[in-house]
C-alpha cells in the first residue's frame, strides 16, 4: 500500500488515496471518500525519478496519483517496466558521483588548459590566410582615431628603420608563411601625459611601433628583436587564435553554468579574464621563442630583447610613480603589462638562447 494524493483530471483539488498492486498486474487506487479506481497496471504512466521529488502516476482517465514514497514506487514498477532511468542510477551511486566529479574537473581543466588553445590553433591555421586581413580591417583606423597620434619622428629616422626592417628583418618569415605582407607604422601613443613605449602587431601584418619605444631602444638589435617578436604573433596567427579562444570560452562557460540564474554569472567574468590572460601569456612565450630562434639565425644576441623589455618596464614604473597623484585610467596600462609579464621564465629563456648565441649555434635546444 502506497500513501499519496489523488487529483481528478486537470484539477487542483486533491484527496488522500492509497495505491496497491496485486500479483495479477492489476492496480487499485482507493480514495478517502471510498471511491475506487482499478485497472491494468501496465497502463499507468509514471514520471521519471529525480532525487526525492514527488512522483506522479497518471491513470488512463487522466487523473493523477501523487506520492513522495519514491522507493516503494520504484520497487513495484520495477517488475513491469524500467522506470529508473540510467541517469538516476548515476545520481544515486556514490562511486559514479566521484567518477563524474573527477572526469568533470579533469576534462574542464584539460579543456581550458590544452583543448581550447590546441583547437583554436588548428582552426586558425586551417582558415585561409585572407581571414587574417578580414579580422584586422578597420582596426588600424580605430586605433588611429582613439589611441594614436601622429609620429614625431623625423622622416629620415622613419626611413632608416623601415628600410632596415623591409630588407633585413621582414624576409626572415618567408619560410614560415609567404603570404604575409608586413607594413611598418610609426605612431605616438599617449595616455595621461605618459608616452607609452610599445610595439603592436595586427593579424594582417601591420606592425605599429611607438615613438617612445624607438627612443628607448639603444641599438638596432633591440628594435629588431621586438619586431621579430611581433612577427611571431603574426606568423602564429595569434589574433585569430585569440578570437576563436574567446568564442570557445564564452560558449563553454555558458553551458556549464546551466540555466544561468545570474548567480554563477558573477564568477564567470573573473574566470574568463584569468583564462584569457593565461592564453595571451602563452602567445607571448610563443612569440618570444619565434624571435629568439630567428635572432640566432641572423646573429643577434637574444639578450637585446630582455634588455629593451626591461628598460620599457622600468620606464613605465617610473612614470607610474611620477603620476601617482592622479591614479585614474592607468588601470589600462596595468592590463597591458599583465599580459606581457617580465616573468623569470621569459628572462631565463632569453638567457638560455643568449648562451647558444655566444657558442655560435644557430639552433638552440
Amino acid at each position: 500500500m502506497i500513501e499519496g494524493k489523488w487529483h481528478p483530471k486537470d484539477s487542483a483539488s486533491q484527496i488522500n488515496a492509497l495505491l496497491s498492486v496485486n500479483d495479477l498486474g492489476r492496480y487499485t487506487i482507493e480514495l478517502e471518500d471510498n471511491k475506487i479506481y482499478r485497472g491494468d497496471f501496465s497502463k499507468l504512466q509514471v514520471s521519471e525519478r529525480l532525487g526525492s521529488v514527488a512522483r506522479k502516476i497518471t491513470l488512463e482517465n487522466g487523473s493523477v496519483f501523487v506520492t513522495n514514497n519514491n522507493d516503494a514506487i520504484d520497487k513495484i514498477f520495477k517488475q513491469y517496466q524500467k522506470v529508473n532511468g540510467f541517469i538516476h542510477y548515476l545520481e544515486t551511486h556514490l562511486g559514479w558521483i566521484a567518477v563524474a566529479l573527477v572526469i568533470t574537473l579533469a576534462s574542464a581543466f584539460s579543456f581550458f588548459k590544452w583543448g581550447v588553445p590546441w583547437t583554436s590553433q588548428k582552426i586558425a591555421h586551417a582558415l585561409p590566410y585572407e581571414t587574417n586581413k578580414l579580422i584586422s580591417s578597420g582596426t588600424m583606423d580605430f586605433l588611429d582615431n582613439y589611441m594614436f597620434d601622429e609620429t614625431n619622428l623625423t622622416k629620415e629616422t622613419q626611413d632608416r628603420i623601415s628600410r632596415h626592417f623591409y630588407e633585413k628583418v621582414a624576409p626572415l618569415s618567408i619560410e614560415d608563411e609567404n603570404k604575409i605582407v608586413y607594413k611598418l607604422h610609426f605612431r605616438s601613443w599617449k595616455m595621461n601625459e605618459t608616452e607609452i613605449p610599445n610595439a603592436l602587431a595586427l593579424p594582417s601584418g601591420d606592425i605599429i611601433v611607438t615613438d617612445k619605444f624607438i627612443e628607448l631602444a639603444k641599438t638596432q638589435d633591440e628594435i629588431d628583436s621586438v619586431l621579430l617578436h611581433e612577427m611571431g604573433h603574426v606568423v602564429h596567427r595569434h589574433g585569430l587564435e585569440m578570437m576563436i579562444e574567446g568564442t570557445f570560452v564564452t560558449v563553454a562557460v555558458m553551458m556549464i553554468s546551466g540555466d544561468g540564474s545570474g548567480l554563477g554569472d558573477m564568477g564567470i567574468g573573473l574566470g574568463s579574464a584569468l583564462v584569457s590572460s593565461s592564453y595571451s601569456r602563452g602567445h607571448e612565450s610563443e612569440a618570444d621563442l619565434y624571435a629568439f630562434k630567428k635572432m640566432l639565425l641572423v646573429k643577434i644576441d637574444p639578450k637585446s630583447f630582455s634588455a629593451i623589455m626591461n628598460r620599457m618596464s622600468i620606464y613605465m614604473s617610473e612614470e607610474e610613480n611620477r603620476t601617482k597623484g592622479n591614479n585614474q585610467e592607468d588601470a589600462s596600462i596595468l592590463d597591458y603589462f599583465s599580459s606581457h609579464p617580465t616573468t623569470k621564465k621569459r628572462i631565463e629563456l632569453a638567457n638560455h638562447y643568449s648562451e647558444c648565441f655566444k657558442e655560435g649555434l644557430t639552433i638552440c635546444k
Binding site: 578597420g138 560558449v251 540555466d259 564568477g267
Partner: protein, 383 residues
Amino acid sequence: MEALKFNGSGSEYFKIWIVNILLTILTIGIYYPWAKVRNRRYFYANSTLSDRNFEYHATGKQLFIGFLIGAVFFILYNILGQVNPALGGILLIIFLLALPWLIWRSLMFNMKVTSFSNVHFAFKGELRRVYTIFLGYPILFFLLISIVGAIASTLMPIIQTADRSILAIVGFIVGFCFMFVYLYFFAFVKKNSTEYFIGNSHYGQGAFQTELETKKFFIIILKTIGISFIPMTVVAVLIGSMRSMVGNPYVGASGFVSGAELLFIIGYFVMIFVMMLIMSYMITRERTYIYENTLLDNKIAFESTLRARDLAWVMVSNIFLIFITVGLAYPWAKVRMAKLMLENTWVDTDIGFDEYISQKQQEVSALGDQIGDAFDVDVGIAL
C-alpha cells in the same frame, strides 16, 4: 497566509548537477537541454505550498531545436562581432528587434509548462503590447530627449554671454533634470512590464491582477541611488589605498598572480559585494511592493517578507563559497537562494485551490525560450 517551502537539499542537487555536467561534457553539449529540464524539474517539484508542489513539464526534446538555433546564433554573433564590428552591430540590432518577441514566446512557453497542484499556468499577453513596452517606449523616449537636446543647444548661444559660474549652474541643473527624467522613464518601463507580465498570467481559469504606480518604483530607485552613494565612496577610498599598498604591480611579476592581477581580483570582489548590497535593496523593495499589490482572481493575496540584508548575505556568501570551491559549491548556493526566496513568499491559502482547473492551451514551441536562453535573456518571473 502561508509561506512556500523548498524541500530540496544541496547534497541531493549536487549529484543531479554533477551528472548533468558530466553528460553535457561527454555529449559535447548536446545533452544541455535535457540537463536544463532536470535542473528545473528539481527546483519546481521541490517548491511546495500547503503540501502541493509545482512541476516543470517541458521535455529535453522540446527544448532541443530552440537550443540548436540559439547556439548557432550565439556563436555567429560572437564570431561576426569580432570579425567585423559593423556586422556585429547589425546583428545586435536584429537581436534587439527580436527581443520582445523572444520575451513573449518565452513567457508563453514557460507558463504553459509550469503547473501547481496539477493545474497549469498560462500567459495570454498580446505581442503588440510587449513591443510597445520594450521597443516603442524606449524609441519614443530617445526621440523626446533628442528633441529637447536640439532645442537646448539652439538656445545655448543666448546664455553664452553670461559668466561662467551661471553656465556651470545651468549645466548642473540640466544634467540633474536629465537624470531624473531618465530614472522616471526607467520606473515607467518597470511598472508597465511588471503589469504586463503579471496581469496576463493565468492559473487554470483564474487570472492574476496587479495595479502598480510608476511613482512608487521611482521612489525605490531614488532611495537605492541615495543609499549607493555611501558604499561607493568607501569602495573608491579602499581601492585607492590598496593601489598604493601594492605599489609597482607589473615589475617583479614572477609569481603565479602578479600585483596587477591581485589588485584586479580584490577590486572585483569589493565591487561585487557593493553591487549586491545595493541590488538587494532594490530587489527586495520592488518585490514587496509588487507582491502586496497582486491578487489571483481578486481574492487570493500575496506577500513578500524578503529583507535586503538577508538577500545580500546569501548572495555575497554564495559567491564566496562558489569562488573558494572553484564552482563546486554552486548546487548548495542555488538551494540556499531558492530556500530564502520561497520561505519569504507568502500566499493566502484560506480560500484554497480546489476549484482551479487546467484550461486548454495552444501548442507553443520552446523556440523563444531557448534562443533567449542562449543570450542569457532572463524573462522568468522569480517566485
